[in-house]
């Protein structure tokens, strides 16, 4: 099975190193980052690629673009792991459309195209006899899409509740555990590399809302978008509020909630019992699915990280291979 990887950031490097260290029968024939690209039909040497990227900041020749790789590299599956543009979904959306139109499968961690055009991309894939998988867009290593599609097949999902943003969860955990103010905990999250220089996207609940939209549209076939979600972040949560919750054996977490029967689609800080299954520590993510047959199922795991996100992408690659054959 041959793959091309677009994006050589944390996730792209994680995928490449896992593919080189595990004998999964997957060959990388094309790679591109925002400034360069490389195509080798006989297979790219991943060790050399990562070393070049480390020393020069480039993964290949400056004259080769991501679209050159999409159109020109001999691959079965395109791995689209460029950074998310939540507003337009581009340029990833064009990369994905092009690959699907060419009859190739796509695996992505990029939330932009999925939140904007999930159903259109699925229809396009179906019309070409290919598939698009996006396990890595939501809750990192947690196999939520596989669980929904396979493990809970035949169940009706009635509602879902999730901790979908590790940065917020880390900040709230540290405020509660150490008595830090919101500002102090945010500063610490930045130092630990859990928060961006501009944390707005995370702390205002937007990232969690995007993931909620992806989950809701996947489960219920809806076409919800970000503006349909009622969003409150954690940036106004005080240490006093956490202590008031603690006085009663509770704590506060940012919870994404979808409950179609009550027309609820929202992200907001909530009071939970300290022993509630969604009260996870640090950057851990968790999702509870309420179903008609299985009852409540809660999955918990790492929501971010290079190798953890690669785990979700590799899972998608191997799922495509087992469904569509070896793709040789």
């Amino acid at each position: 099975m041959k793959v091309a990887i677009l994006g050589m950031g944390s996730v792209g490097k994680g995928v490449a190193s896992v593919l080189s260290s595990k004998d999964l029968g997957v060959m990388v024939t094309g790679v591109a980052d925002s400034r360069s690209g490389l195509i080798d039909p006989d297979g790219i040497n991943i060790g050399a690629l990562l070393a070049t990227k480390r020393s020069t900041g480039l993964c290949g020749s400056a004259g080769i673009t991501a679209m050159d790789v999409v159109r020109g590299a001999p691959y079965d599956i395109l791995i689209e792991v460029t950074p998310t543009d939540a507003v337009s979904g581009e340029p990833a959306l064009t990369h994905i459309r092009t690959a699907l139109t060419m009859g190739r499968h796509v695996v992505t961690s990029n939330k932009g195209p999925i939140v904007h055009a999930l159903h259109a991309l699925r229809s396009l894939a179906a019309s070409k006899g290919t598939s698009i998988r996006y396990e890595a867009t939501v809750a990192g290593a947690i196999p939520i899409m596989h669980t929904l599609a396979d493990g809970l097949a035949g169940n009706e999902v009635l509602a879902l509740y999730g901790v979908l943003n590790g940065t917020c969860n880390y900040i709230l955990t540290r405020m509660a555990a150490e008595g830090l103010t919101y500002e102090q905990a945010l500063l610490e999250a930045r130092e630990m590399g859990y928060a961006e220089a501009d944390p707005t996207y995370d702390v205002k609940g937007i990232d969690a809302a995007i993931k909620l939209v992806i989950l809701a549209n996947t489960i219920w076939g809806t076409s919800s978008c970000l503006k349909d979600v009622e969003v409150r972040g954690i940036d106004l949560v005080t240490l006093d509020a956490l202590q008031l919750a603690e006085d009663q054996g509770c704590t506060i977490r940012l919870i994404a909630e979808a409950d179609p029967s009550n027309r609820i689609l929202r992200v907001s800080p909530r009071i939970l019992r300290s022993r509630h299954p969604l009260v996870t520590e640090g950057t851990l993510n968790a999702i509870t699915l309420v179903t008609d047959l299985a009852g409540e199922i809660t999955l918990m795991g790492k929501g971010a990280g290079s190798v953890e996100t690669a785990s979700a992408i590799i899972g998608d690659l191997l799922a495509i291979r087992s469904r569509y054959g070896r793709c040789d």
């Binding site: 006093d240 009550n262 907001s268 509630h276």
Partner: protein
């Protein structure tokens, strides 16, 4: 309520039937039999939800079945939840916020704990709300949600009210 009845077949049913006849909802029946006791009298505790105005009818009906009522503890507001509000609570008419719940008739603010770090900083308050039942709790929280939006307060709701 705590009942005393003869330890004979049909007695418990005789005591419970009037509850459903009057549209009440039995929440729990605690049936304690002391294994060492040879007494022919049995103590039973029943927790139930019943419209206020039907309580005396119920006690009459149960007594007419020959069951002795030892004690009736009335608790009008059975459902309790805590909500946290953050913002300029005092300067946005805290009394009015509390009153929005109290005047419903089906829910009350029964506890209020406020932390005010400094005069120009946002305060945080925990409102303990009690209501007649879960549906009314949802209504009470929806009212507070509207008040919070109007007053620019952040409201942190408990999980598990609606689900």
């Amino acid at each position: 309520m705590k009942l005393e009845m003869r330890d004979a077949p049909g007695q418990l049913v005789a005591a419970l039937k009037p509850i459903s006849d009057l549209g009440g909802n039995i929440i729990a029946v605690i049936h304690q039999r002391d294994p060492g006791s040879r007494s022919e009298v049995l103590g039973v505790q029943i927790v139930l939800d019943l419209p206020q105005d039907r309580l005396s009818d119920l006690t009459d009906l149960i007594r007419s079945q020959g069951v002795n009522i030892l004690r009736v503890n009335e608790e009008r507001l059975l459902c309790t939840r805590a909500v946290i509000m953050i913002g300029h609570l005092i300067h946005t008419d805290l009394g009015g916020t509390v009153d929005a719940i109290d005047r419903t008739g089906f829910a009350e603010v029964t506890g209020l704990t406020i932390r005010m770090p400094a005069i120009d900083q946002r305060s945080s308050a925990r409102f303990t709300i009690r209501s007649v039942n879960r549906e009314h709790m949802e209504d009470a929280i929806a009212i507070l949600r509207t008040v919070a939006r109007e007053k620019g307060l952040l409201m942190i709701e408990p999980m598990g009210v609606s689900q």
